[in-house]
């Protein structure tokens, strides 16, 4: 035996080979949300088809929900139409909907794991590119388009080519103040935003072995930013401990059988990979982006690159990035004025993210020139954070404590940048216009770096601001 987890999961879920050579792959778990599913339900109706396995699709509402005034109808009638359409589609087809009043609503990639729906050795699809997040559990999880949402609803399968597998090892202990977010930003910086094209990324090594489940999710989440549609970590005791007792996790005797099965999906020690890359954790420092894609990143102590010093093929994009970001090549990124601090998203909106920041922000104040918001990834995260006193710490420090959703990660709800505001953001994309203003500027970083920017009013080294040792 010398198979990767991807090989094994693929084999277990292959229905047949299609005429064009693609695999008809069974998708065991389907997650949907309000933005990319209504058209798919419309297509089903047009074709006279029904949802084949309604019990294997789970819905929530995240992209368009307001994070402050959450009573319906929403003031934005388009957003209101979207939540109503999802509610209706779920009710008509018998799909479980973690709706706003349920207390279980949240970002789809946070709700799946916290409900125990996300499980090892499974296939998962969702009409959202950050579906790779679920790979942290040893699932093979794909972001898909709306036509494929239709395909999965109607047939519980999709047509797809098997990717190659690149093993990415990170070994050693991260320095204090360096986080999973820095690890993935570093990997994308090294391999490029299209370096993962055609690959699934299998993350491993002693750094990943030591990571919590939530840290693994942060890394897998951004696989797509490196061009890899799928990213995963082999399941282990950390994974099983996280899942145990969650609402949709197997119970009783079934639990032991499930764990045994899950273990068997892990890559064999002698598994063959199409590529292997290894990094040392000690070489990674707090990382921030300076440009308009997540690969345009530097360590906090570095200067913004001069276009003349970047490879010729990347030069035009670098110049475009500097013009958009209103930054100068050759200058430090540290000290750049910040207008907004956003703590949240499917990358870093989990309880451990909030706990880590709260620990350091206690007794500190948000800078007078900064609007700082915390958007918990789910109502579950929010409730825990409130009961633990974290919300109070954030509010005392001057952060706005909001309701759960995608919020300012993509500005589909009322939370948007204005004009050319610069946002220190724990989210995953710094594309032009991503945070709701065409000229808005996004600097991606870890949650603690966002807190450091909030407190100082400029891009700062969190290790200095909070004396992290």
């Amino acid at each position: 035996m010398s198979q990767t987890l991807l090989d094994k999961v693929w084999e277990a879920h292959t229905v047949r080979t299609l005429p064009n050579g693609s695999t008809q792959l069974l998708i065991g778990t389907h997650l949907i949300h309000e933005v990319t599913s209504p058209q798919a339900f419309g297509m089903l109706r047009d074709l006279g088809l029904k949802v084949l396995y309604p019990g294997r699709t789970f819905a929530t509402v995240d992209h368009i929900v307001p994070t402050d005034e959450r009573e319906e109808p929403f003031s934005d009638s388009l957003a209101d139409d979207m939540i109503k359409a999802l509610r209706k589609n779920c009710a008509e087809s018998g799909v479980k909907f973690f709706d706003l009043p349920s207390g279980q609503q949240g970002i789809v990639h946070i709700v799946g794991p916290e409900q125990g729906i996300t499980q090892p050795g499974t296939t998962i699809a969702c009409g959202d590119s950050h579906t790779s997040t679920h790979g942290a559990f040893g699932a093979i999880a794909f972001g898909i388009g709306t036509s494929q949402v239709r395909d999965v609803l109607a047939t519980q399968t999709m047509a797809i080519r098997k990717p190659k597998v690149r093993r990415i090892n990170v070994n050693g202990k991260l320095s204090p103040g360096v986080y999973a977010k820095d690890v993935i930003l570093h990997i994308i910086r090294q391999l490029g935003v299209n370096g993962g094209l055609g690959y699934a990324y299998e993350y491993g090594g002693t750094t990943f072995d030591a990571f919590t489940q939530e840290e693994r999710m942060t890394v897998c989440n951004m696989s797509i930013e490196g061009g890899a549609r799928v990213g995963y970590v082999n399941p282990d005791e950390t994974t099983f401990a996280y899942l145990k007792g969650r609402p949709y996790a197997p119970k009783g005797a079934e639990w032991d059988a499930a764990v045994a099965r899950w273990k068997s999906f892990a890559s064999d020690p002698d598994a063959a990979y199409d590529d292997i890359i290894t990094y040392n954790a000690e070489d990674i420092a707090p990382t921030v982006t300076w440009g308009i894609n997540p690969g345009q990143a530097i360590f906090i102590g570095e200067n913004v690159p001069l276009p003349a010093n970047v490879p010729e093929k990347d030069r035009a994009t670098a110049e475009e990035a500097l013009a958009h970001m209103l930054l100068k090549g050759g200058q430090p990124i540290k000290g750049t004025k910040v207008d907004v601090a956003f703590l949240g998203s499917c990358t870093n909106g989990r309880l451990s993210d909030l706990t880590e920041v709260a620990k350091h922000i206690k007794g500190r104040k948000v800078h007078s020139g900064v609007k700082a918001i915390v958007v918990p990834g789910s109502q579950g995260v929010a409730a825990l954070a409130e009961s633990m006193g974290l919300a109070a710490i954030f509010k005392d420090a001057g952060f706005e404590w909001r309701g759960a959703g995608c919020s300012m990660c993509l500005g589909m709800n009322p939370d948007k940048l204005v004009g050319d505001q610069l946002c220190a953001s724990s989210s995953n994309r710094n594309f032009k216009g991503r945070q709701g203003s065409p000229t808005g500027r996004t600097v991606l970083m870890s949650p603690l770096m966002v807190a450091a920017a909030a407190v100082t009013g400029e891009i700062s080294d969190a290790r200095e601001v909070f004396e992290v040792k």
Binding site: T29, A154, V193
Partner: protein, 200 residues
């Protein structure tokens, strides 16, 4: 469900230069507040076009010389980022029937193929040469021949490629997989029965 066999796409071209053009750029998220894809076409590259206008320049998609173009040319890693099918749907509704780039992001590529909008790869130099032909004669017809693996314009031929599975799907009229997938439903049920979590 017989679909058109797409072996060739012919039309005028327009070049939107740049690498890593993401799907937020193609269709900004605020225009996705909709429950159908109708009407997305006009918002194609909305922010890039208005920003260009504010600079006193004309975006290629607003340049009357290229009005009605149905073949889009761009750089590498086209369509990266969000999986939103709104992006290829917007391009299709704008009038595009094929895209030529140095490389494509994977989800975008699949979404476009499913719409019957081929994504064809050419080298950077060839794309620039083709863009030059279009620039000097915007009425020049560009022909993408999927079977021959070439793109022709103004007596010039360029090598062009797309992966075998996508080519096969397009030329055989099976680019929307739903019919093939539905044919396998008995196998789907059999496979699902082997997976304990599917019974839950």
């Amino acid at each position: 469900m017989a679909l058109e066999k797409i072996t060739q796409v012919t039309g005028r071209g327009v070049f939107v230069p740049g690498d890593d053009i993401d799907t937020d750029r193609i269709i900004p998220a605020r225009f996705m507040k909709c429950v159908t894809f109708d009407g997305l076409g006009e918002f194609t590259f909305a922010d890039a076009r208005s920003a260009t206008k504010e600079e006193g320049k004309t975006h290629p998609l607003d340049d009357t010389r290229f009005a009605g173009a149905s073949i889009l040319l761009s750089g590498s890693n086209f369509g990266c980022g969000s999986s939103r099918e709104h992006a290829p749907q917007a391009l299709y509704r704008f009038g595009f029937r094929a895209i030529i780039a140095e490389s494509f992001a994977e989800i975008f590529f699949g979404n476009s193929t499913t719409l019957g909008m081929p994504c064809v790869v050419m080298t950077s130099d060839d794309i620039r040469a083709l863009a030059g032909i279009i620039e000097s004669d915007p009425a020049a017809l560009v022909t993408i021949d999927l079977l021959e693996g070439k793109v022709s314009a103004a007596d010039m031929d360029f090598a062009a490629s797309l992966p075998d599975h996508a080519k096969e799907a397009l030329v055989s009229g099976r680019w929307d997989a739903i019919a093939d997938l539905l044919e396998g439903l008995d196998d789907v049920r059999a496979r699902a029965a082997t997976l304990p979590y599917m019974a839950a």
